[in-house]
Symmetry: C3
Subunit: 132 residues, 3 copies
């Protein structure tokens, strides 16, 4: 298992980690790559690459902020920590994603990028990469 380290810059931010995942997989052989996020206010999604990708990422960030409203009646707020919405946004994305490998390469679609999803940044974050 290898571990990527990244630094997020905004409260809600999709960060393209595809190149780092590819680097972690160099020289590895297996059937699939498992990505795992060891955090509870972050997640992972596979989304759009190429032209328009930045706008799609920004739209996903904004949409998750809309779907899970910070003005709702939260319990966790009363206990000092102030990010219950971050946990819910995390629960709506994924903690793990598994991608098939073909000849050692990620079998991503042409238009796919792997995004780490920050929901309580900025922070230092990790993504575990294991070959299965």
């Amino acid at each position: 298992m290898r571990t990527l380290v990244l630094h997020t810059e905004r409260k809600t931010q999709l960060v393209d980690v595809t190149a780092s995942v590819r680097e972690a997989l160099e020289g590895e052989t297996g059937t699939a790559a498992l990505l795992f996020v060891p955090h509870t206010t972050a997640g992972i999604v596979i989304q759009a690459s190429g032209e328009g990708a930045a706008a799609v990422a920004a739209d996903i960030e904004a949409a998750l902020e809309t779907i899970v409203g910070e003005s709702w009646d939260w319990k966790h707020v009363d206990e000092g920590d102030r990010n219950p919405w971050s946990h819910v946004r995390s629960a709506l994305t994924a903690s793990s994603v598994t991608i098939p490998l073909e000849d050692g390469e990620l079998a991503l679609g042409n238009l796919q990028t792997i995004f780490f999803c920050e929901f309580d940044g900025p922070r230092e974050r990790r993504v575990h990469v294991a070959v299965i």
Copy 2:
């Protein structure tokens, strides 16, 4: 790795792919089956089979259209592509799901069906199936 090809017929549509996945797994032995969707406006969920399943699928389709509203203030719309909501609906479902195998058979529950989720159809789509 094998790849299923399917053709969706509606903009938002859950398509039962369980039989095709079973066919792709015939003669394979392993611990689990990995399903991966190489698209960014589609997803995969495991949901209800049998009586009432069509109504459940229709309810999930309608609910995802409600949860992610097309009238929201989207950025990606201005760049020519007009489906940011499709990407968000995709991000809320899953790109990969892994199902244990028992004696070469999917260890699905009695009431479970594998659905490909189309969020920007109609289109030709793919699902990768790998045995781990």
Copy 3:
């Protein structure tokens, strides 16, 4: 493959199953642990442990009830079964999650707990645990 059995007590309830998963993995060696929920009105998420965790779980339960409203115009209701919202809440979480193993131990973050998500309880439920 081993199967955990649990009994939920409320309609919507996150149940910490981390200890049971660890017990199921004792003596096993492999690269990752696959958790799979064989139900269509339940799911699995990895969320917060420790102080404040109960409040976070309660907030996630309430948020999923808010995000998927029971007063919406549902089709499945007319067919006798009355829980279409449970299926949608299930579809928004995950049916499977895969966690890397290090020296036979789950590579969870310090603040992570594995939660079974009940969306149509109380019921007897199962979680499959397979080592990959």
